[in-house]
């Protein structure tokens, strides 16, 4: 029978990585994600795995680059300021087409900011962050159960496409305890990784992992190959939850922690005779544009609720494409909107 346990979000990420076959972790301490490291520091030595506390986030992501080049399933975790430091390595991982998983338990910024939950790093995660035309797959879990399932899935996606997959959570999700039900056996995508640097054993030509292409014709071709891969991911890997959207008066869109609040708002609004729908992107990239297109003309308006000054709302506007007004409501600095705040905003938009 499948196990059901009460566990902290960050620990579930670590356990999920182990279940996905990740035996190599490199990280640097930062709040509020540090329990990921604590958990793996205990387990890795017992399973002949690697736990290295690096000298910096820069070093940690470059260790990930090396381990991924060597063909291993590998993970690092950090939080906003640390993720900024990792952007160099993230860009190189994209350029060299290496599979790796990176966890970002987002805290509020800018600068050192604070350690409370925020979604202020959506742009950084989804639109680039590092240099170059590249994409990371970005997964946004909204429960501890989903932290588990999506972390396992992140490794599979990474290996399938040779791409970096980011788990974008926040301090609330990482720190909360919830029931989680583990499968007895995970579905693991197995890739032979013939490109990896494992030593030629004098039996093949050398494998080189690189992101530099000095000839412009060659680099353009490399970029075109990356873009073709991103197109394929957009076609195959979109994940989204739509809830209560048929005949909705207004459709609210939110991801992660905020989407949980919206589900309660939907119940409150129902009592007042307002039908509120929810589109919850689970992949932030690829963005679930089709779900918005499907319901673009259903409600009177859309409302994006975020723990930011308004970031995902830009992608919502692109997806709705002017067919309905798209409003925004957000809190910043670690403040989380209450259900009543969101309901009042909905009433204001609907003139009720």
């Amino acid at each position: 029978m499948a196990e059901k346990l009460l566990m902290k979000g960050n620990e579930v990420i670590a356990e999920a990585a182990l279940r996905a076959g990740c035996k190599h972790y490199f990280g640097y301490p930062i709040t509020p994600q540090t329990e990921v490291a604590h958990y793996l520091a205990k387990v890795m030595p017992k399973i002949n795995g690697t736990f290295v506390q690096a000298e910096s986030e820069v070093a940690a992501i470059n260790m990930v680059y090396g381990a991924a080049a060597a063909g291993a399933r590998v993970m690092t975790s950090s939080s906003s300021p640390g993720i900024s430091l990792k952007q160099e390595g993230i860009s190189y991982i994209a350029g060299a087409e290496l599979p790796a998983v990176i966890v970002n338990i987002v805290r509020c910024g800018p600068g050192l900011g604070g350690i409370l939950p925020a979604q202020c790093d959506y742009f950084q995660a989804v639109k680039g962050g590092g240099h170059g035309d590249y994409k990371n797959v970005v997964l946004a879990p909204s429960s501890v159960q989903e932290l588990y399932e999506l972390t396992v899935e992140a490794f599979n996606i990474s290996d399938r496409y040779r791409i970096l997959t980011m788990i974008l959570g926040d301090g609330m999700l990482g720190q909360m305890m919830e029931a989680v039900e583990f499968k007895e056996k995970e579905d693991i995508y197995v890739d032979d990784k013939k490109w990896a640097t494992t030593g030629t054993k004098m039996q093949r030509e050398s494998n080189d992992v690189t992101s530099i292409y000095i000839e412009p014709e060659v680099l353009e071709k490399h970029n075109e190959k990356l873009q073709a891969k991103y197109k394929q991911i957009e076609q195959n890997e979109v994940r989204v939850e739509t809830y209560n959207c048929e005949n909705a008066d207004i459709i609210v869109t939110a991801y992660g922690t905020v989407a949980r609040i919206i589900k309660n708002v939907i119940k409150m609004a129902e009592k007042e005779g307002i039908k509120v729908g929810l589109i919850r992107p689970i992949t932030l990239w690829p963005f679930p544009t089709a779900a918005f297109e499907q319901y673009a003309e259903t409600p009177k308006a859309f409302l994006s609720v975020e723990l930011s000054a308004g970031q995902m709302v830009e992608d919502v506007r692109l997806a709705v494409n002017g067919k309905r007004p798209v409003h925004f409501y957000g809190r910043m600095g670690g403040m989380v909107p209450s259900q009543i705040e969101v309901l009042n905003k909905i009433k204001e938009i609907l003139n009720k």
């Binding site: 190599h24 490199f26 690697t50 290295v52 690096a54 000298e55 910096s56 820069v58 070093a59 940690a60 470059n62 260790m63 990930v64 680059y65 090396g66 381990a67 991924a68 080049a69 060597a70 063909g71 291993a72 590998v74 160099e88 390595g89 190189y92 060299a96 640097t197 494992t198 030593g199 030629t200 054993k201 004098m202 039996q203 050398s206 494998n207 080189d208 992992v209 690189t210 992101s211 530099i212 000095i214």
Partner: protein, 248 residues
């Protein structure tokens, strides 16, 4: 006809892009000869730096990973932890290792990572056209110290071997040079010794190789070798700083 001289197998049969008189080619050859003499080509994974030798993965016949500027020791750490039975080396210049990559080299050494670093020190940034390096000598003229390196403005050149030798995890530390035949032979012996230290699983090993950059020094190749001998040797003494009596 008998072959009396050829490329070692660990070097690809490919012409290299280095400037005339540059000593990178010599250092590449020494590494390749050692790899073949120790019969480790099939298990070797090298890490290329950022700098003039950024693409030396095209020259070595073993598996190679190209790293971001200064990060080779971190990348090598990742590789070695995945493949502890393989042989892992980094090839880095003085800008790469002694400026932007200082944290990575110090901590790889402190952790005693079982990797080997070949550190090519020519006292200048070569690829970006002759800027001041952390290893640039006092009064040396570069494009970013056009009036010479002055201690009150630019500080002092870093002695990497002396610094790393203070770390317990660094078990073999030697400085060699390639400015004449005798020293080239010594440099090869140093590289071989450092590689054997890794094979014996002893800890971190590094060989600093004093090298020339005729193009950015503004000297012809012969005068460059002489400049190295007369100016670099007094500041960067050759020899084993750590691990002289290490059994491998």
């Amino acid at each position: 006809m008998a072959t009396v001289f050829k490329k070692p197998h660990a070097l690809k049969d490919k012409s290299q892009h280095y400037c005339p008189g540059c000593t990178h080619g010599i250092v590449h050859r020494l590494i390749a000869e050692v790899i073949n003499e120790l019969d480790i080509e099939g298990i070797t994974i090298g890490v290329s730096p950022v700098g003039c030798s950024y693409n030396n993965y095209e020259y070595f016949n073993c598996d190679m990973v190209q790293a971001a500027h200064g990060r080779a020791p971190a990348v090598a750490t990742g590789i070695k932890r995945v493949h502890p039975d393989n042989f892992v080396f980094t090839y880095q210049g003085d800008g790469d290792l002694a400026a932007i990559g200082t944290a990575e080299i110090v901590h790889a050494a402190a952790r005693g990572e079982k990797i080997t670093t070949i550190f090519v020190n020519n006292a200048i940034y070569g690829m970006t056209s002759g800027q001041m390096a952390p290893t640039t000598l006092l009064n040396q003229v570069t494009t970013t110290s056009p009036y010479g390196r002055k201690p009150d403005i630019h500080g002092f050149p870093i002695k990497v071997c002396e610094m790393l030798a203070t770390l317990e995890g660094a078990v073999y530390v030697e400085r060699a040079s390639v400015h004449d035949v005798k020293n080239i032979k010594n440099a090869k012996a140093a590289i071989k010794r450092a590689f054997e230290v890794q094979k014996a699983n002893k800890g971190f090993s590094i060989v600093e190789v004093l090298s020339t950059c005729p193009t950015n020094w503004g000297l012809n190749p012969i005068d460059s070798l002489k400049w190295l001998e007369e100016n670099m040797l007094p500041h960067y003494p050759l020899g084993i700083f750590k691990g002289k009596d290490l059994e491998v």
